[in-house]
């Protein structure tokens, strides 16, 4: 087991947003967390990655308890994070952005190798090496954000709502890219996603989150039916 999350509870200030979260992720797996808007899915990723500190629970990665470890250390130790909105550095070029992705990598030759790999994975980026981040399209930015997250050689990638703000065809492309990344690079991806239909195409296992708690889980096939999807989005109170 790559990841074991037990009883995580977190929030902002006095407000607890998520509680009693239990999740596992295996090697080479795509795990999706789906659910309606505002249920705390992004909060969960932030709590795991260390942007906010969990108030209870544990996060085990490769057998080690790394609960609340800071983002920087996580990035240097095999976990990376693609934020919501696929934020890249607008003033830097594609190549420079990728170099920043390798900030924590000590061996600069390794960084060069990873950059080559990323360009092979994303030929669109290879064409735009010297373009500034701000001139990229939404799809290109998403690819760049993923590319940046790959330079530090992660075994686990957190992806926060990759489909946000993208046109439907582009969303399909992004999902295919994520699947491709997992297959080619051997990483696992934990995706938080509102667009259940699209993410179920690539996910292996699924957790459903509602009002800050996990309410259901299972294989992707189990949820890929209209009835199940409807249940996901209807808030049962």
């Amino acid at each position: 087991m790559l990841v074991e999350v037990k009883g995580i509870e977190a929030g902002y200030g006095k407000k607890t947003v998520i509680r009693d979260i239990n999740i596992t992720v295996n090697d080479n797996e795509i795990v999706a967390i789906i659910g309606p808007n505002g249920t705390g899915k992004s909060t969960l990723l932030k709590a795991l990655y260390g942007n906010i500190k969990p108030t209870a629970g544990e996060f085990h990665y490769r057998g080690r308890n790394i609960t609340g470890r800071s983002p920087g250390v996580n990035c240097a130790n095999g976990i990376s994070y693609v934020s919501q909105g696929a934020n890249v550095f607008p003033d830097l070029t594609v190549e420079q952005n990728l170099l920043m992705g390798g900030y924590t990598v000590k061996d600069k030759n390794r960084v060069k190798e990873k950059l080559k790999q990323v360009y092979e994975l994303f030929p669109a980026l290879a064409d735009r090496k010297s373009s500034r981040g701000r001139s990229l399209s939404g799809a290109e930015r998403q690819q760049l954000a993923f590319g940046m997250s790959l330079v530090c050689d992660p075994k686990l990638i957190f992806s926060d709502e990759p489909s946000i703000g993208l046109a439907p065809t582009v969303v399909k492309t992004i999902m295919r890219i994520i699947k491709y990344v997992v297959e080619e690079m051997g990483t696992s991806v934990l995706i938080v996603e509102q667009n259940a239909k699209e993410v179920l195409r690539i996910a292996d296992r699924v957790y459903v989150m509602k009002v800050g708690k996990i309410t259901n889980e299972g294989s992707a096939e189990k949820f890929n039916t209209p009835e199940e999807l409807k249940k996901v989005y209807l808030v049962e109170e």
Binding site: Y49, N51, P71, G72, F89, D91, L92
Partner: protein, 296 residues
């Protein structure tokens, strides 16, 4: 007379451009309106005065030490004021007021330490060669003035190179998106200190050059420089660092043309009116592309 105005304008503009660039680096990266930048400039000028005139140190080590002193002062200000404010998640106006307070304290500390009167900067050995008059067409220029321009160009080129290094890129990245920077494991606190150091060192360099040119330092010299820096950065725009540099040169040229066309007393009024007009009608600056981050 036109060429003379141009010559003076480019020399003065170079000094403004360096200072404005230093300010812009701090502003774009950290979002701080660093009012104390002018005081760092004044402090550096006084350090240069002490080294060159009192200690009689040779020129190049003096310049380098002055830049170091300026950079260190910038980092001290960050340590004492900006980092604590960051821990309290203070707003931009709080930073501004605190920075303003700091600049007043610094200015008066400088006056207490060095005296409030104007002090003459004397270069023991290079005296004659630096202040010889050379001719460019019908205009006159001293070596010291030329030095300002040349050193500025070299410094700007160095900064341009620096901006491609990992540290330089990380400074730009931090200014773009501090969250992504943190997520990628960048040492954001260290980058903040380096930013203040680099910005202040540029102001220090400008201060030395100008002090050598004018042969004088006085404790209030930071105030007009801060004025000009603010005008340069706002009029030029904060869209990118080039805009700040262009703004500096523009202000230097306009100031001299103002002196030539109107009269010496109203040159500042002209600039201030320009400032107010730009803020009112083109807040992104003359070379700006979109509404800048000013106004956090």
């Amino acid at each position: 007379m036109l060429i003379q105005t141009l010559v003076n304008g480019i020399s003065l503009g170079s000094a403004y451009a360096l200072t404005a660039l230093g300010f812009a680096i701090i502003y774009r990266t950290l979002g701080i309106f660093h009012f104390a930048h002018g005081s760092v400039y004044a402090f550096s000028a006084h350090v240069a005065y002490s080294l060159i005139t009192l200690v009689k140190m040779p020129l190049i080590p003096s310049v380098l030490l002055t830049m170091l002193a300026g950079g260190i002062l910038g980092m001290i200000i960050n340590f004492l004021i900006y980092e604590p404010l960051k821990r309290h998640a203070s707003s931009g106006q709080v930073y501004m007021i605190a920075s303003m307070g700091a600049s007043i304290v610094l200015q008066n500390l400088i006056a207490t330490a060095w005296g409030a009167i104007t002090k003459v900067l004397v270069l023991p050995n290079l005296e004659t060669s630096l202040y010889n008059i050379h001719h460019i067409g019908s205009a006159v220029i001293t070596m010291a003035q030329l030095l300002v321009v040349i050193v500025t160009v070299v410094a700007l080129a160095t900064i341009a190179l620096f901006s491609k290094s990992m540290i330089g890129l990380s400074i730009i990245a931090l200014g773009n998106d501090s969250e992504v920077a943190e997520n990628l494991g960048m040492k954001v606190k260290a980058i903040r200190y380096i930013t203040l150091a680099v910005g202040s060192a540029l102001a220090a360099l400008s201060a030395v050059l100008v002090s050598i040119d004018l042969r004088a330092v006085d404790s209030a010299m930071g105030v007009p420089i801060m004025l000009m820096t603010i005008i340069a950065v706002i009029v030029g725009g904060t869209a990118n660092f080039g805009a700040a540099i262009a703004g500096g040169y523009l202000i230097g040229l306009i100031k001299n043309f103002g002196i030539w066309a109107i009269s010496a007393e109203w040159d500042n009024t002209l600039l201030f009116i320009m400032l107010v007009l730009v803020i009112m009608f083109k807040p992104a600056g003359l070379f700006g592309r979109k509404i800048s981050k000013l106004g956090r």
